[in-house]
Amino acid sequence: MTIYDRYADALFGTALRFLRDREAAAEVVQESFLALWRRARQFDAAAGSLAGWLHGIGRNQAIDRLRADARRPQPLRSAPASQAARDTGAADGLDWASARLAAPVSEEPSEETDRRWLRALLRTTLSEMQPDEREVLALAYDHGLSQSEIAERLGLPIGTVKSRTRRALLRLRARLGDVPDLHPATAVSTAFGGPEVVR
């Protein structure tokens, strides 16, 4: 399996959820893989995973694209193309940002644009998980339950819950955590000196 085969669907899915435009998402994938190959020598495995690095490149490409798009009149932006809408779940009303697509992105705080990318990436990663992995994550994040509380709620052995949670978190980490710091200015030190990204 090539690097493209391994990562293209996730990157395309994330870019599409973020941009809501299939052609623009395809361009982001093209540019991201080209950038990956051109900068291959700069990749440092100790600083993050290849998936994280690629998605970091993709994030920058997609945000550049969104901002460039926003500088032009985009009358269709307020009504996403039907295919893109189906693909991205734009009609579910969950993504508050979808209602703001008509607004120029350049006027949005970058923190909110970042959040939109993160949300697209989170959705993509969740869509690839097994239902039982998503279930334990939802109980942890939405209800604040501990591992033992989740085990009690689901009537499962604690070991089962832990292994599901670990699998799910490893998937999330590969996309969201193993990313070289793209914004040094937003890093702060933790108790042990490691950087923590503050968004």
Binding site: Y4, D5, A8, D9, L11, F12, G13, R17, E23, A26, E27, V29, Q30, F33, L34, W37, R38, A46, A68, R72, D87, T88, G89, W96, E112, D114, R115, L118, R119, L121, L122, R123, T124, L126, S127, E128, R134, L137, A138, A140, Y141, S146, K162, R166, L169, L172, R173, L176, G177, V179, T190, A191, F192, G193, G194, P195, E196, V197, V198, R199
Partner: protein
């Protein structure tokens, strides 16, 4: 004090990471003096590992914040019902082709050219290989005349043109290949588009340098929908684009299908008017 091995520390850290609150700085402070805390303080790799787990949880939390109502975050469960999205099949060959060409790219600073004149290309089918070979000879000749600083650029250009020529040979060897003229907005011939059941090659000598913030984007338009396929590259005065058509249905483009080149912002969206175009279908 018990000394943890590296593997033991990473295992404990992964276990700790199962609950986001365990990685908050205040919770971590409680590890001071504990074997894991001592190991984390001394081990760079585990420090990175910890930071990656912290970033992961921070990113999920950030994604769930609803700026309109920060006190009530969005629910992860509601995000989890999306179906996986697959990249379009044709994107694979486009990326592969662009990567192949990118590897052969001339050094930075080599500028493509804007339209000078559109020129008529008589007997285009017979002249195509000659044009390509002459371009290689011209580039190779340039190597003889120029200084060493241009040697790498010239080599890259020659290699790129050799690859283009090889693709063109393959196209012309296909009995079902087709060749059409690439025309400027004024309708005058300015290059060629050749394609077979597998490859498509575009050649032109009619483009001149775009502004620094722009590039020539290539696209195929069918039924009013434009699909970007890459950008024009240059070797000497020859502009070229090659692509693999495995996923496009090859020689049977629909009526009115057009290959076009437009001048677009490097970082912006495409959609500008065609500077050069050729009819692929009909």
């Amino acid at each position: 004090m018990i000394q943890l091995t590296h593997a033991e520390a990473q295992e404990l850290l992964a276990d700790l990471a199962l609950e986001a609150g365990n990685l908050d700085p205040t919770a971590l402070d409680r590890l001071a003096g504990e074997p894991l805390g001592e190991h984390l303080a001394a081990c760079t790799e585990c420090g990175r590992d910890l930071a990656a787990w912290q970033r992961t949880h921070a990113a999920v939390r950030a994604a769930l914040v609803d700026p309109a109502d920060p006190a009530h975050p969005l629910r992860l469960a509601a995000m989890a019902d999306d179906e996986p999205i697959q990249a379009p099949d044709e994107l694979r060959s486009v990326v592969r082709n662009r990567a192949r060409i990118a590897i052969m790219q001339p050094a930075a600073g080599h500028q493509p050219r804007e339209i000078r004149h559109a020129r008529h290309l008589p007997a285009i089918r017979r002249l195509l290989p000659l044009v390509a070979v002459l371009a290689i000879v011209t580039v190779a000749g340039g190597v003889m005349l120029d200084q060493g600083t241009r040697l790498d650029t010239a080599r890259a250009e020659a290699a790129a043109l050799q690859a283009v020529t090889a693709t063109l040979d393959r196209v012309l060897a296909d009995p079902k290949h087709r060749v059409v003229e690439l025309r400027g907005a004024d309708g005058v011939a300015a290059g060629s588009i050749s394609w077979s059941g597998r490859d498509l090659v575009v050649l032109t000598t009619a483009l001149a340098a775009p502004p620094a913030d722009r590039e020539y984007r290539c696209w195929v338009e069918e039924n009013g929908k434009r699909s970007g396929v890459g950008q024009m590259w240059f070797a000497g005065k020859t502009g070229y684009w090659t692509g693999t058509l495995d996923a496009w249905g090859t020689t049977s483009f629909g009526d009115g299908a057009t290959f076009g080149i437009s001048l677009e912002p490097i970082a912006g969206a495409t959609g500008g008017p065609a500077i050069l175009a050729g009819q692929l279908g009909g």
